[in-house]
Symmetry: C2
Subunit: 400 residues, 2 copies
């Protein structure tokens, strides 16, 4: 039998399940064997709290009172004007960022925000830099756009950025740096100092080359921070050549509805051309417009978030308990992940060991940083409480 | 000022408005000057009838009774299992096509169905064939995937397929042929004879090369046919190497909600690999899953369509009137377009002339077939009645 004459890269991407998805499927199988309540599945970053009431009521209201032809009709490719206007107002009220409605392009969620931004910028042989640990799909998106991923090794002390390593990663081919704060998988928020140093390096390197290095800020977790004094800097205020990629998936618990946006900072040179390239990339990839009803829902939801307090409760409980049991873990200010040092060198083997206690964890290898596991704590607090004895026993296996 | 160092193809795509969109924007401007009721805008293929009541009620019901975390949560990348199962059952009940739920991949609408299918198949230098006249975005999607569009000139007698021209368009580089029936922009349905001849040529050419030529059937207008005896053949019943690209945009009047699917015919060789490539392409382009609530809505909507009777009324009225006034037009069995011969050689100039009567028509050039205009009759019948004197006067301008 001959091999299929199709795009084998795409075939490979479709055949290789992500380790996250595989762990999740194992959990479903295991739940059938021993009962859902006995499986402690921390694999998936799927919000566990419902949409805010206001958002729910807005949907009902739009359906009951809106004109269905308009409500479900095409919007312009960049998104409904009123939606973009209200989002710009909201961003400016919170961050004093000077965003205009015409800097905003509505997307089908964070993944689309990223693929569209990357395809808008990428020429052949371009390099995109990611700071480890990073969301594994960055590699997929960058390589599909014909560009190359360059990884900056993790700062395993604080999970900020190792700037010496960043500097040596930058080359004449660097098109952009992608950052993600609050971070998946560490939960860490980049400090203002980190952002300032990052931006000054990018400015210096851009000047040296006479061409900008762009900064892509992937921030679906922006609103998921748990301490009042945690500041998530708004990147366009620090660096002109910034594209902000946002999604409502986590803040409004709408991950399946695919709604988000891109902000092309209007202070960058050629910003109209770059916005046009974003529009062009959206068109070429097959995104006709972002889902129309959700574009209306967003208008009424600005300033709202789902009730995120359970995530804080979960973080506090897990962090306190795991460190008590002897696990090492960087303190996470946001997102809904803990990034815990594996108790043996091979994080994959450690996750296999954890399965013996029906703890489903994700090894860190695909995040570009070996020797850790990711715990997604967007689950019920009850499940976490039930899981604690298992975490304790797992730690005891490694005590001599 | 230097040029921006970004993807200039994407920039160009974003800067060049389609002639359809430009005409539509002109219409909005003109409506402000002389009143909406005096502008006869036939430019956009945006459904003018609301979603079926069943679909509307299903949405309300899901919101009122569904678990919001599940309803708005991620589905698997290929789509919710029950949705795929029900769609397969519905296809099989209608066309006896032997489709399995695992042959179906849910998408964000027809454009996504096409870009995903094309990216799954395309290797560098591959050629994709389209039959003129064709939807202009085919060129954008094919070229963005690194492949080349090859156009088969139109059969201007019946707007079926000129098979001699098709044969000479096929080369060793041909990866796939894209067809669209009922057709945008002609409204013509390919007859069963056309389909049979097409498929026998593709089989013969595939055997000659020892490698399949795929058939991509783009069919968002499948349910929009107006005479009971009009048959739209289901392509997997005629040709194994078929991918069906479907969208609910037109049949359920949900164009802004971005919901559709791909069927990878399970009779083709390597069908599992090709399905995997579809999954991989969806992943690489940034489509995480199709909008989740709409996936549920589809389950309850199978077999339903919006009330399409107004489109038939419109077609009958326009076809009868225009041919009476002396226009030449192929009789359209479906979709919501009339493809009318321009009364002067340059269809663009003819459309400019039509604007003097506030008739907004789209010249056929970008559809790969010069000398015609497209009339999108997904408008109110009242508007068509009001527009008839203008069409009459326009024709009279060209009578000597």
């Amino acid at each position: 039998m001959t091999k299929p004459n199709i795009n084998t890269n795409m075939m490979h991407l479709g055949n290789v399940r992500s380790v996250i998805r595989e762990t999740f499927e194992y959990g479903n199988k295991r739940a059938k064997e021993i009962g859902r309540e006995n499986v402690f599945d921390f694999s998936l970053g799927n919000p566990s709290v419902p949409v805010p009431n206001e958002v729910h009521n807005t949907m009902l209201n739009l359906l009951q009172k809106g004109d269905p032809v308009k409500l479900h009709g095409y919007t312009s490719a960049q998104g409904a004007e009123l939606t973009r206007e209200k989002i710009a107002q909201n961003i400016n009220a919170r961050f004093n960022a000077g965003v205009d409605k015409n800097d905003i392009y509505m997307t089908c969620g964070a993944a689309a925000s990223l693929t569209i931004s990357i395809n808008a910028l990428a020429c052949n042989d371009d390099e995109f830099i990611a700071i480890a640990p990073f969301f594994p799909e960055y590699r997929v998106f960058i390589e599909a756009a014909g560009a190359k991923l360059v990884v900056v090794e993790a700062d395993t002390q604080k999970f900020q950025i190792d700037f010496e390593k960043l500097k040596s990663a930058i080359s004449t081919k660097t098109k952009a740096v992608i950052i993600n704060s609050p971070n998946n998988p560490t939960g860490v928020v980049f400090s203002e100092d980190t952002i300032k140093t990052l931006c000054s390096i990018l400015k210096e390197e851009s000047e040296k080359r006479g061409e900008p290095i762009y900064l892509i800020s992937d921030e679906p977790y922006r609103e998921l921070v748990y301490d009042d004094n945690t500041v998530v800097p708004y990147l366009t205020n620090y660096y002109d050549n910034t594209l902000v990629c946002y999604s409502y998936s986590k803040s409004l618990s709408l991950p399946g509805e695919r709604i988000g946006y891109i902000v092309v900072c209007n202070k960058m040179e050629h910003n109209k051309d770059i916005y046009a390239a974003v529009c062009g990339a959206g068109r070429a990839l097959g995104f006709v417009c972002a889902p129309s009803m959700m574009q209306q829902v967003v208008i009424e939801s600005l300033g709202n978030t789902s009730d995120l307090s359970v995530y804080k409760t979960n973080r506090d409980l897990l962090y306190k308990s795991l460190t008590e049991y002897g696990y090492e873990c960087v303190y996470p200010d946001g997102a809904f992940y803990l990034f815990v040092k594996s108790l043996e060198e091979d994080a994959g083997a450690f996750c296999e060991k954890a399965k013996e206690f029906d703890l489903l964890l994700v090894p860190s290898d695909s995040f570009g940083c070996k020797g850790y596991i990711r715990i997604a704590y967007c689950v019920t607090t009850e499940m976490i409480k039930r899981s604690l004895p298992a975490f304790k026993k797992l730690a005891e296996c490694y005590k001599k």
